[in-house]
Amino acid sequence: MTTKILKAISLGAMLSIGSVSALSAAECIAPANPGGGWDFTCRQIGKILYDIGAVDKPVQVTNMAGAGGGLAYGHVVNERGDDADLIIAASSATTTRLAQNAYAGMTADQVRFVGAIGADPGIIAVAADSPYQTLGDLVDAIKADPGSVAFAGGSAVGGFDHLKPLMILKEAGFTDITKIKYIGVDGGADAITQTVGGFTQAMTGDMSEIVSFLSNGDIRVIAVLTEERVPGFEDIPTAKEQGYDVVAVNWRGLYVPKGITDEQFNAWADKLQQVADSEEWAKAMTDNGLAPFTKVGGDFQSYVDGLVASINAMSKELGVIQ
């Protein structure tokens, strides 16, 4: 009987480790389970904030998975609307879902986006034995016969991976975007598997998803969707230099509740800038295949507003929202 009780206690302790919280310390909500991108954002930014002395107590990370970040969003909007000690991890996925009304009616203006300090560059890749050598080849093939090229990506239909090729094709003057074939599979690696296997002709995803396949020689990256070539991957051409002015990156950043004062908002923006400038963050970025992408404060908020508007317009055209 004693052993049974002991086991029950140890199990209870085990379960509650994730939820111990220190009084009045800043809290970072990762709207996903431990291990994902949002969790990484909270843990890295939280740790660096404390290490460089921007906060005086360690930042407590809370995992609140559900509805692709929607549960955490609802929690912040409805219950923590004026909590100045709260930051929440966000990425392009957050704004894409908000733009597509995937958070049950909640909108992007119900929180404040405080900044992004790094980004995973978007890429378009083909199998190593593919006839398409450049982005231009691929675009021409689609223009000639939209059915001849199918894309695979790690997000659902209408998700950010799906939107990347659509942005390129719109830029190239191909407007019938509903004709473009896309299948959403379980993550970037799965998308590569389908492309290498010849079931789809191209893969759309993030740089971090393809790094290990690149050195193996299974795939060829025909475009990276950044302003300039990415450090460490100088031989991959940007879409822009191939004549398609499309920049699509999966940024990593934070939002805060709507109800905090401008001073509090600016204080967070300032702290985030300090993290962005730190050596620790530079190291974390290289370790995780992120490219520099720093936008904080009002600058970032207007970037997000623009992003939400353009994704919303494209999603309507695509028919994923009314």
Binding site: N33, P34, G35, D39, G66, I192
Partner: protein
């Protein structure tokens, strides 16, 4: 002999006292997590991830701890399947079919030992397979496109009919209920929410664990309340544990075959351990024929799913390590852990980080022997956790179920849903509708639908695309044979007794 030098490197890493301690601790925790209904391997591993951060473990140690928990949970899941008729986790579902009847017949100890040995054989063969074949087998995933996956899942559903052979219509009805439940959530082929009623909690769909715990554990509580504890099926006696040498010897080929089936199912991304144990059980059942008595508590019916699901657990590591594609829910969590530790799994992992890969393989081998010891001679320790009078055990199971389910998402909504599933399970059992097909519908339905929708997108709705490769055609033939054969055989052979309990 590159493998042996690699393995020596691996054992060099894994045999340090600290790593060894982590492996033993992981096995122990994993077995408990597996044994407790409501705590499956995937959320068990997810819950423990923060601990690896807190302890500041390096990549290899963290991986050793997590995979020991993973293997441990695969072993542990059978304990409550056999003793309580409540699967400890999803892959242990099939073990209830023969494990519980055998335990009820007074052979609980034999069932536990036999399933422990089967688990060992499955896991060991899978680890060896992982060691020798991983880089080669990784290429298998390149041959499976949407059409092949659809045919594979179809095969699983077509063999369902044989599962509740006393009434196929009810089994089909149950599978349809499961498929219907699997449709809830955001439709990944259009991005639109379906049947969520605007409720954010339903956007991710319904977690299998919520359904399993509800249909099995909570439904059991309702029956217990109804009968005032009198006719409860819970509380099998376990007097003493001896080793049933004869059964182990008799099932040796079953274990080997099931390990192969499970390993292959594990390698295919997304299929996972549940499909592995299911296909292993069905393969053995059809080999044994209707006279095999599957569903009545025969040794082969216990050995097959256990060898199958443990082999699948090892198999699932193949695509995870070599392609970065998780082969099951738990490996998806492990993959996330690897990424956090700055290890990017992929084709180059074996050459770039050999100490991680071979350290992992060596510790899997060690974990396997530790688990065999824990689960055969020392099985009573775990059994004691579950061997208390029903009026103590059942509230305990209920409490753990609630805590476990709450830990999934931290929302009370899942708890309500679980109670809802409990009510559903109660009525289904009153109507003599088997609940296992419901779970399989939820477990595999979503994947099957995704595969079909992707195939239709790629082919512009051309149905012949589904039969466009030899692999797909082979799977279709197997599926049709699996569906039709029982109908013709029924006239020849006598019906076996009902398996629903």
């Amino acid at each position: 002999m590159e493998i042996f030098s690699n393995l020596a490197l691996g054992f060099g890493v894994a045999l340090s006292p600290f790593t060894l301690m982590l492996a033993v601790a992981g096995c122990f925790l994993g077995t408990i997590i597996g044994a407790l209904p409501g705590l499956g391997p995937s959320n068990g591993v997810a819950i423990l991830i923060p601990i690896t951060f807190t302890l500041g473990l390096d990549a290899t140690s963290a991986l050793v701890l997590m995979t020991s928990v993973y293997y441990g949970a695969m072993y542990g899941g059978r304990i409550s399947s056999i003793l309580l008729n409540i699967p400890g986790d999803e892959p242990a579902l099939m073990t209830t079919l023969d494990g519980y009847p055998m335990a009820k017949a007074g052979r609980a100890g034999d069932a536990l030992v036999l399933s422990g040995v089967a688990s060992f054989v499955g896991a060991l063969l899978a680890t060896i397979g992982l060691m020798f074949l991983a880089p080669t087998l990784a290429r298998v995933a390149f041959f499976f496109g949407p059409a092949e996956y659809f045919a594979l899942y179809l095969l699983a559903f077509c063999t369902l009919g044989g599962m509740a052979s006393n009434n196929q219509a009810k089994a089909a009805l149950a599978a349809c209920i499961g498929l219907g439940i699997a449709m809830i959530g955001v439709d990944s082929s259009s991005g639109l929410p379906r049947m969520t009623g605007g409720n954010l909690h339903l956007y991710d769909g319904i977690d299998f664990l919520v359904a399993i715990v509800g249909l099995f554990a909570i439904a059991e509580v309702f029956f217990f309340i109804e009968s005032h504890g009198a006719g409860s099926s819970i509380g099998v006696k376990l007097e003493k544990v001896t080793i049933p040498w004869k059964d182990i010897f008799d099932t040796r080929w079953t274990m080997v075959r099931s390990s192969c089936v499970g390993f292959i199912a594990g390698i295919l991304p997304g299929a996972g351990a549940s499909l592995g144990s299911f296909l292993a059980y069905m393969t053995e059942k059809s080999i044994a024929g209707e006279k095999g008595g599957f569903g009545t508590g025969v040794p082969k019916g216990i050995a097959a799913p256990e060898a199958g699901n443990n082999a699948a657990a090892g198999g699932a590591l193949v695509p995870m390590l070599t392609l970065g594609v998780p082969g099951s829910g738990t490996t998806a969590v492990l993959l996330a852990l690897l990424m956090t530790l700055n290890i990017t799994p992929g084709p180059t992992l074996f050459t770039e980080r050999p100490e991680v890969v071979w350290g992992l393989i060596a510790s899997l081998l060690i974990a396997n022997f530790v688990l065999l010891l824990m689960n055969v001679p020392m099985v009573k320790i775990f059994v004691k956790i579950l061997m208390v009078p029903p009026w103590i055990l059942l509230p305990g199971v209920t409490m753990i179920s609630f805590v476990g389910i709450y830990s999934l998402s931290g929302s009370y909504f899942d708890l309500l849903l679980m109670v809802g599933f409990g009510a559903l399970g109660y009525f289904l059992r009153k109507l003599d509708v088997p609940t296992v097909p419901v779970i399989l519908g939820i477990l595999l339905g979503g994947n099957m639908e995704d595969a079909l929708r992707r195939a239709m997108t790629l082919s512009d709705g051309d149905v012949t695309y589904l039969f466009s490769s030899p692999i797909a055609v082979g799977l279709w033939i197997a599926a049709i044979a699996g569906f039709v054969a029982p109908m013709f055989l029924r006239g020849v052979l006598r019906k076996p007794p009902a398996i629903t309990d």
